[in-house]
């Protein structure tokens, strides 16, 4: 029998809905992120049983990685690398890979495909937001992805034949980290800020719009409803896109070439490639980050999946060398990385970017120098 004063319907839903409409970021987190985070963690447990027959961790070593590490530490590693790198506009791989090798002691070739699992899943945290915000242009992404599909199957062969030993591999990672450190430092200089006028103007317009949206009680992220990245011209030679009153033209062979080279390097190391692609696209084309992600996010996803296929299928078939990733290891790291990348993208505008870039630049620079120096001299401590 129905209660006349309370039918039982919507008794809790109404205050909950009004609370969530007042907290759009929390609403977005519960709707988009929580299912993904829980799903990837569950997939990690499932993969553990499927690949090893048990769940490795702090007591029992991960069989392929050959290391004991508690699951919370893997999730934590994904979280902090994903968070810090998202704030400076990159993916977690380039930080989590050296951490896996030097702190967790995962130094076999399998660390590269395992890292690719994380870099494949990492961008999904931000993907829905970009798709909803129309920060999306598959024509721009297409040619970079074609380059990635051509280049990333080559990288694993370089990794196995020339960078098999951890010492030279770390030296190459060291060079990359040092380059990244210089890039982060350059981004904080007045010269760079003056040079990138287009990004600055775009950011000023964007910030003004954000303030207006915040004043209306909307989420402190996302783009205006009329924002879209449209294709103006599409041919085998040239691609022209337009966004928010701006136009940008690209040479299609150049886009494929950039994707190809970044694809080879990134898949050989086992990272997403954002560390190379972002500076290249900013330097050559002066694209603002809000537009750049339309190309880089699909690129990282495609590169990671083709790189993974090469490590797990092509390479063993052609050479007989087994380089299986530790699926559960990668999935547990990805659980934290998805949340970290999302949190980083939401809190980015409150962080003093200059100090953060200086701090990350100093850390990556120091680690980079140590890795390269370790190739020439042996240290009394293990790095």
């Amino acid at each position: 029998m129905e209660n006349p004063t309370n039918s039982g319907k919507d008794s809790l839903a109404q205050p909950l809905n009004s609370f969530l409409s007042g907290n759009p970021v929390l609403k977005e987190f519960l709707r988009d992120q929580v299912p993904m985070i829980v799903g990837v963690f569950a997939l990690g447990i499932f993969a553990s049983y499927l690949q090893h027959g048990f769940v490795p961790g702090g007591d029992v070593a991960f069989p392929i990685a050959g290391i004991r590490v508690p699951l919370w530490h893997l999730i934590w590693m994904g979280f902090w690398t994903g968070y810090l790198m998202a704030i400076v506009g990159e993916a977690s791989g380039i930080f989590s890979l050296p951490y896996s090798m030097s702190v967790l002691d995962f130094t076999s070739v399998s660390v590269s495909p395992t890292s690719l699992i994380t870099t494949f899943l990492n961008p999904f945290g931000a993907l829905f937001g970009y798709w909803r915000g129309k920060q999306w242009n598959l024509d721009l992404a297409l040619w970079l992805c074609v380059g990635a599909i051509l280049g990333s199957p080559i990288g694993p062969f370089i990794r196995v034949y020339w960078l098999n030993d951890p010492v030279p591999f770390k030296a190459v990672i060291g060079l990359v980290l040092f380059g990244m450190s210089v890039n982060l430092w350059i981004q904080t200089t007045n010269w760079y800020l003056k040079r990138t006028t287009r990004q600055r103007e775009f950011k000023e317009r964007f910030d003004a719009m954000m303030q207006a949206r915040l004043a209306d009680g909307e989420a402190p992220s996302g783009l205006p409803t009329d924002f879209s990245i449209d294709t103006e011209e599409w041919s085998w030679k040239r691609l022209t896109i337009s966004y928010w009153g701006e136009r940008q033209s690209f040479s299609v062979p150049a886009l494929v070439g950039i994707g190809f080279i970044v694809g080879i390097v990134a898949s050989a190391l086992g990272v997403g490639g954002g560390f190379m692609l972002v500076p290249i696209m900013v330097s050559f084309y002066g694209l603002p980050m809000y537009v750049l992600v339309a190309g880089t996010i699909p690129f990282v996803i495609v590169l990671s999946i083709t790189g993974l296929i090469s490590y797990t299928v092509t390479l063993p078939l052609l050479t007989g060398v087994s380089t299986s990733p530790d699926w559960s290891f990668g999935l547990f790291v990805a659980t934290g990385a998805i949340f970290g990348a999302w949190l980083g993208s939401k809190t980015q505008k409150y962080i003093p970017e200059k100090y953060l870039k200086n701090m990350l630049g100093a850390i990556t620079g120091l680690v980079g120098i140590l890795y390269v120096a370790n190739y020439f001299w042996s240290f009394p401590f293990k790095i």
Partner: protein, 35 residues
């Protein structure tokens, strides 16, 4: 509520630096007890 949000935004400013310190401590803990 508004005061709480303002406090939260101030805290967020220091969050990356706090996380970096915590990451260093956790890494040290792992090296000492697990390697």
């Amino acid at each position: 509520m508004e005061r709480l949000k303002n406090q939260g935004r101030k805290f967020i400013t220091y969050l990356p630096f706090l996380i970096a310190v915590l990451a260093f401590l956790v890494a040290t803990y792992h090296i000492v007890f697990y390697r």
